[in-house]
């Protein structure tokens, strides 16, 4: 019975979304306050009903209600409760419901926190948001209904893909979706601005927190996904340029560009049409990501559930939203007034460079991801694009971006002086040279690539810290006054510093992992020990153990350094009888500078086991750096300009004139 409530709630949410996408829009066009006022309660009600549907499904998973086909196909009674719950979004139907749930959540958040928005803008934003909701609710109800019944009811479910049975699944997809779907708000603001024909600094300030929140979530989501594949897939890698990874990385790249260009709109009233276009493209790439994952047009290890009919439907949605938005853009954008002028060497110029490079980088990834598909369509040829392509194209684009990253924040608005900026980077030049030299001395002339990578990381970090030191007058004033200045720095500045420093740490991590990873594959018997990178790994025993829903071959290993025991490691190879599948339980010992990573494989037939041992230097920094970036975003989100002093449009008179004109 409760399952029907969930189904019914979804239908109700669809009806509400349909109303919400029309009535406020008409109200805004006719300047009718009553009709515009529909938007907020509708958005809240839509969230309520989608929320009911979502929690009904979650309940069905919690109690293993196998009368739902979806639950029977993706869960089993033997699962621990956590994996029963995360099973909700382990599959196509459930993850689409999560998608819509988060969409409704953002809609409700805009409705709840938008008292300082002009009513017309708010009405339009929420109406556009509801249009997206209508499309995806229809998609769920027509092609991917998680509330489909199954008869006869099976006694036991088919279980969950063992690879997905991990704590990572609890956080990775929701975070990723918060990012993907969060960019829908930037998109809605962009569409509302195009309808209204007006983009100004106030608009940029309103849209900024939403973009930031989505960006933080996406950064976290991507980093978690990468971490998850690092410790579950069991071959030591953390990024594979897989189409689905790329699908999440493209909106991140363009979203990062959007964050930066919106600053120019906010501070200097320039780059307006470009910012609008970026907002449209960012969300469109999220939709493309959904399309690629859910339609199966690309073969990928991630395409767990793919179905061409659903592909047609998502493509239709993509065409409506992106196509519609771009046509609206072509029509309205030429009428947006131009903004402030600036010299090429200036903060604006640097941010524009950042945007061009990020957009090019995203285009590279886009081409790499879609080239196989498009070539197939045009020339009926099949190709696959692998990591070498990205190393050759993506990396050369990122290098100038990262070099410029240290300089940009030091340039003043309007017109800057490159020589003066470099002068202020004296310390950074020294740090860069020191990092390069130290690397070359420590690991020989052959690690020239690693030296460049670490030098780049040092350059960004030192450049960012120079900026901070200068802002707080670190070397020119007493410590107390430095502290006071640090406290008074805007949170947005702190956010920038964290995020840029985090990027430096990520670069160092990537460099370390690609230059100095050591790998050892051995056939080991209990009692033997192996050397890797100065550590000794002693294999003491191999046991057969059983977990809640699996049995495993589990090794007892001791990790030793200089004769002292550092840690105990227990890699496992798990077998899941319900699903008839296996998963790798990697053992990782980290000291935050490097990981020792151990995997146990099959028996070698001579009383031993295949063991793989990796020494991954600096790899933890990839995730520490990503965490610092996300933290930077969160700090920036708490900036007082988002909380107090509701941004006001330039003059009341201008608004009044526009209202009259509209009438």
């Amino acid at each position: 019975m409760s399952d029907e409530i969930g189904h019914f709630a979804l239908v109700l949410a669809l009806c509400i979304a349909a109303l919400q996408s029309v009535v406020p829009l008409v109200g805004a066009a006719q300047n009718d306050a009553t009709l515009m006022a529909w938007a907020r309660p509708a958005a809240l009600a839509q969230f309520l009903f989608v929320g009911i549907a979502f929690f009904v499904l979650m309940h069905a998973y919690a109690v293993s209600d196998f009368s739902l086909a979806n639950v029977a196909a993706n869960s089993s009674t033997m699962k621990p409760l956590l994996y029963k719950l995360t099973g909700v979004w382990s599959n196509h139907e459930g993850s689409m419901l999560l998608w819509v749930f988060i969409l409704a959540l953002f809609g409700a958040a805009v409705a709840a926190f938008s008292h300082n928005l002009p009513p017309q803008l708010r009405a339009r934003v929420l109406a556009v948001q509801a249009m997206i909701g209508v499309g995806f609710l229809l998609f769920i109800l027509l092609t991917s209904n998680p509330f489909q019944r199954l008869f006869p009811v099976p006694a036991e479910g088919a279980g969950l893909n063992p690879i997905l049975e991990d704590r990572g699944l609890a956080f990775h997809p929701p975070c990723l979706y918060l990012g993907y779907v969060g960019f829908s708000i930037s998109f809605c603001f962009a569409i509302a601005a195009l309808i209204e024909g007006r983009v100004d600094p106030a608009w940029a300030r309103w849209v900024r927190p939403w973009t930031l929140a989505a960006w933080c979530a996406l950064t976290t989501g991507i980093a978690m996904g990468s971490w998850w594949s690092y410790y579950t897939l069991g071959w030591g890698g953390w990024w594979f340029w897989d189409p689905v990874e790329n699908a999440s990385f493209m909106p991140w790249l363009v979203g990062t560009a959007l964050l930066h260009s919106a600053v120019v709109v906010e501070k200097r009233d320039a780059l307006k049409t470009w910012t609008i276009l970026l907002a449209i493209i960012t969300f469109s790439l999220s939709l493309v990501g959904t399309f690629l994952v859910r339609s199966g047009v690309l073969t990928s290890v991630h395409a767990f559930a793919s179905d061409p009919m659903r592909g047609v439907f998502i493509l239709l949605l993509l065409s409506c939203y992106t196509g519609g938005a771009l046509i609206l853009f072509a029509w309205r954008a030429p009428q947006l007034s131009g903004g402030g002028l600036f010299a090429p060497i200036s903060r604006e110029g640097a941010l524009l460079l950042n945007n061009l490079l990020l957009a090019t980088a995203a285009a590279t990834v886009f081409i790499g991801t879609l080239y196989p598909l498009l070539l197939d369509v045009v020339a009926h040829q099949k190709v696959s694009v692998g990591p070498p392509f990205y190393t050759m194209t993506f990396v050369p684009i990122m290098v100038p971006l990262l070099v410029a990253m240290a300089v940009g924040p030091l340039l003043p608005w309007k017109r800057g002086d490159l020589v003066a900026a470099f002068g202020r980077l004296k310390f950074a030049f020294v740090a860069t040279a020191a990092a390069a030299l130290a690397t070359l001395i420590a690991s020989g002339a052959r690690s020239i690539g690693a030296a460049c990578g670490l030098a780049l990381a040092a350059w960004i970090l030192a450049g960012t810290l120079s900026e901070l030191a200068e802002r707080v007058h670190l070397f020119t004033e007493k410590l107390g006054s430095v502290g006071r200045r640090a406290l008074r720095l805007p949170r947005a500045t702190w956010g920038m510093i964290f995020a840029h420093a985090g990027m430096a740490v990520v670069i160092a991590g990537i460099t370390g992992s690609s230059a100095w990873t050591e790998e050892k594959i051995v056939s080991g018997r209990p009692g033997q020990s192996f050397e890797i990178a100065g550590y000794t790994v002693a294999l003491d025993k191999v046991n057969e153990v059983s977990g809640p829903d699996y049995t495993a071959t589990r090794a007892d290993m001791r990790l030793m350094r200089d004769g002292r025991e550092v840690a105990a490691m227990h890699p496992e190879k798990r077998f899941y009888p319900v699903e008839d599948g296996a998963a790798t339980g990697v053992a990782i010992h980290t000291n935050l500078f490097s990981d020792v990573y151990a995997v146990i494989g099959d028996k070698d037939g001579q009383g031993g086991y295949l063991l793989r041992l990796y020494y991954n230097p600096l790899v933890p920094w990839i995730w520490l750096g990503a965490a610092a970036m996300a933290l930077g975003g969160l700090v920036s989100l708490t900036d007082r300009r988002h909380r107090v002093g509701a941004p006001a449009r330039r003059t009341q008179a201008a608004v009044a004139a526009r209202v009259q004109a509209a009438e």
Binding site: I281, V297, P308, A330, P334, D376, V377, K382, V383, G386
Partner: protein, 176 residues
Amino acid sequence: MNKRGWIFLVPAAVFGLLAVGFFVGLGIDPSVLPSPLINQPAPDFALPPLEGDRGFSSADLKGHVSLVNAFASWCAPCRAEHPVLNALAQTKRVAIYGIDYKDQPDAARAWIAELGNPYTRIGADEGRVGIDWGVYGVPETFIVDSQGRIRYKHVGPLTEADIGQTILPLVARLEK
């Protein structure tokens, strides 16, 4: 619209083309691929061994039906496919040969050591031989009859269903 208004149409136009591409792409099964080499003799080649001292050459394909699988350690779908090949090797129904395509030998050896070796022989190919076979990407799988002619080509990872419904019946037919 001013004189430069057309430039604002560019994004919509690009998207339009992409959408058409996507639509056509949906109709294409990524695993179906006509090959001009079907029913042609397999190309002459001799590859150095990936490990050990037995290389892989066209002479190995004569006299029995064989399955030739192009793979690489950097290819994620190959990893997904590998257990299927291992299972097929266990049945001993057909001799499986591997072309390790554009790969680093160390990485490939490690990969085989980790995942198991279903191959009778593995040749390490820098890309030349793959081109002769018409390999566009990995994994790709060919069935070669006892006269050494290519009879079937499969693009993308093999699944258990492919083995059961296509590969094994074809092997049985060719062995008659």
